[in-house]
């Protein structure tokens, strides 16, 4: 009989991230010869974004999708991966995966929440979607842009008003002009249909959100047989790699779809806004480093070591990709 691990996800059951979780389920069943599987609840009906780490640690779910930024004081080491503007899914995700599985500081962080890291997610790089074209710093001045966290600070630094609003409000706000634009990801533009109400996309390649992914409860982990643990460890890495590939591909597909037009809505892409992009990325990185300095004061003593390890991993994967291309390129 299959032991189904209870998996809690706070998002919809559609899109690349959801597909990766479903893929993980079917792989788990296949690789364990039906001994293990996932029983997935979607939409935050069991655990929401705000209590997923706590819930996984206490066994509300055996495994969960978690985002440390929503749960103050928990898994801060993971957020170190959000500081640098890494816009490549593969490099960012694998660097974060290595950091989370190899750094002792990160491992201690997970231990403190009674969970274990399994796999990494990403949003992909952030771009600027706007009603009117915004390609220069001058054009950005005085615009109202929906952006949160370090991105919000970066837009403020560069003369825009950073508006925070919940994602479901963004559609209406763009359509009526409450905001002039939003810092958004390809999959968000696609799933929230933001292309229906704003048609200019400036490539600014701001960093991805890499501080999120899958964790498993420690007691559940301990109850697995050694070979099952090994299987799940490998599957976690494979899932990260699988999602990197699919996020990369879906971003390309979505962009092509938007250029071609969906239901008569087409997107005009503005590339070459280098000055704008650099200025925003620098400001976001500075905000990230300020955060890290504060965390260091608050007791994250290995802050510098974590960042250095992340940088080293990024360098390693960049060199690897430059030399050999993406690992999936040959297999297709």
């Amino acid at each position: 009989q299959t032991r189904e691990l209870r998996y809690a996800d706070f998002g919809p059951d559609r899109g690349t991230r959801a597909d990766a979780i479903k893929w993980m389920d079917s792989e788990l069943r296949a690789r364990s010869d039906g001994a293990l599987g996932l029983n997935i609840t979607w939409g935050g009906t069991l655990l929401g974004a705000k209590n997923a780490i706590e819930g996984a640690g206490n066994g509300v779910a055996d495994m969960a999708s978690v985002v440390p930024v929503y749960e103050p004081g928990k898994l801060s080491a993971w957020r170190v991966s959000d500081i640098r503007p890494v816009s490549d899914e593969y490099i960012g995700m694998m660097a974060t995966y290595d950091l989370m599985t190899q750094s002792d500081a990160a491992k201690a962080d997970f231990e403190a929440q009674n969970v274990r890291f399994v796999a990494n997610f990403t949003t992909g790089p952030s771009q600027l979607l706007s009603r009117e074209p915004i390609t220069t710093l001058d054009e950005l001045k005085g615009k109202k842009i929906r952006a949160t966290g370090n991105f919000g600070k970066a837009f403020e630094e560069n003369g825009a008003a950073a508006v925070s609003m919940s994602q479901p409000d963004v559609y209406q706000a763009l359509s009526t002009g409450t905001i002039d634009g939003t810092a958004s990801y390809a999959y968000v533009i696609n799933s929230y249909k933001q292309y229906e109400v704003a048609s200019n996309l400036t490539t600014i390649n701001m960093g991805q959100n890499l501080g999120w992914g899958i964790v498993i409860n420690n007691r559940v982990w301990a109850s697995l047989k050694p070979e099952q643990q090994e299987l799940l460890t490998q599957l976690g890495r494979d899932t990260t790699l699988y999602l990197a590939q699919k996020m990369y591909e879906s971003r390309t597909t979505i962009m092509q779809k938007l250029r071609d037009g969906i239901d008569g809505n087409t997107i005009v892409e503005h590339e070459g806004a280098e000055a704008l992009s650099k200025s925003l990325n620098d400001a976001a990185e500075k905000a990230g480093l300020d955060w890290l300095a504060r965390e260091k004061e608050q007791g994250l003593s290995e802050a510098d070591a974590l960042l250095a390890a992340f940088d080293a991993a990024v360098e390693k994967y960049t060199a690897e990709r430059d030399a050999n291309g993406y690992p999936w390129a040959g297999s297709n």
Binding site: V69, Y70, P72, G73, G142, K144, G149, K153, E156, A161, A162, V163, S164, M165, S166, R294, Q298, G299
Partner: protein, 184 residues
């Protein structure tokens, strides 16, 4: 009877619970008043945020976060006062058609399990305060708003609610016993 008033039963005169009731009542009124002020502040904050954005192109830091956190005070602080004055909404159509005892038992049952449920929620939330305080947890944003005061406010609201429910349960039992006595 068409009402659903399952709030504080009127205690027989001379009962020692009366003092406790009046003491609690003062705190509850103060808490409801605070909740009202927070609601007002919430409206003003949203309006100021909109005005600043539209008129001078700046945004109020952490406005959304502050509104969400204010909701905790607006919703939880008046719970206890509501319980005393009106009671929580309940379905009376069936017990109205049954002998008096069923309704009385239901009231006591409701107040007892309510005490347990909301007492547990209050206790479990408050129990996580020391950690949040000691480790200096704060919400991600510009103002670095700490987490613990929000939990404290929530705990106060839920805790008062649980105490009031317990008092209602005791009051129900007393009323039950005395009116039984009166019937005989």
């Amino acid at each position: 009877m068409s009402g659903s008033n399952d709030g504080m039963p009127s205690l027989p005169p001379g009962s020692g619970l009366g003092i406790l009731d009046r003491f609690l009542d003062r705190i509850e009124r103060a808490m409801s008043f605070v909740a009202g002020l927070v609601l007002l502040a919430m409206g003003i904050l949203i309006t100021a945020s909109v005005a600043a954005r539209e008129q001078i192109g700046v945004t109020i830091p952490d406005d959304i976060l502050l509104v969400g956190l204010s909701m905790v005070a607006v919703v939880c602080l008046p719970l206890s006062h509501v319980q005393r004055d009106r009671g929580q909404i309940s379905v009376t159509v069936i017990t109205d058609r049954l002998p008096w005892g069923y309704g009385a038992c239901g009231r006591i049952l409701g107040h007892v399990i309510g005490t347990l449920l909301f007492g547990a929620i209050a206790w479990l939330t408050v129990a996580s305060v020391p950690q949040a305080f000691a480790q200096n947890h704060y919400y991600d944003g510009q103002l670095l708003i700490p987490v613990w005061p929000v939990k404290v406010v929530f705990g106060i609201g839920m805790g008062l609610f649980a105490i009031r429910l317990a008092l209602c349960a005791v009051g129900d039992v007393i009323v039950c016993l005395t009116s039984r006595g009166a019937e005989k």
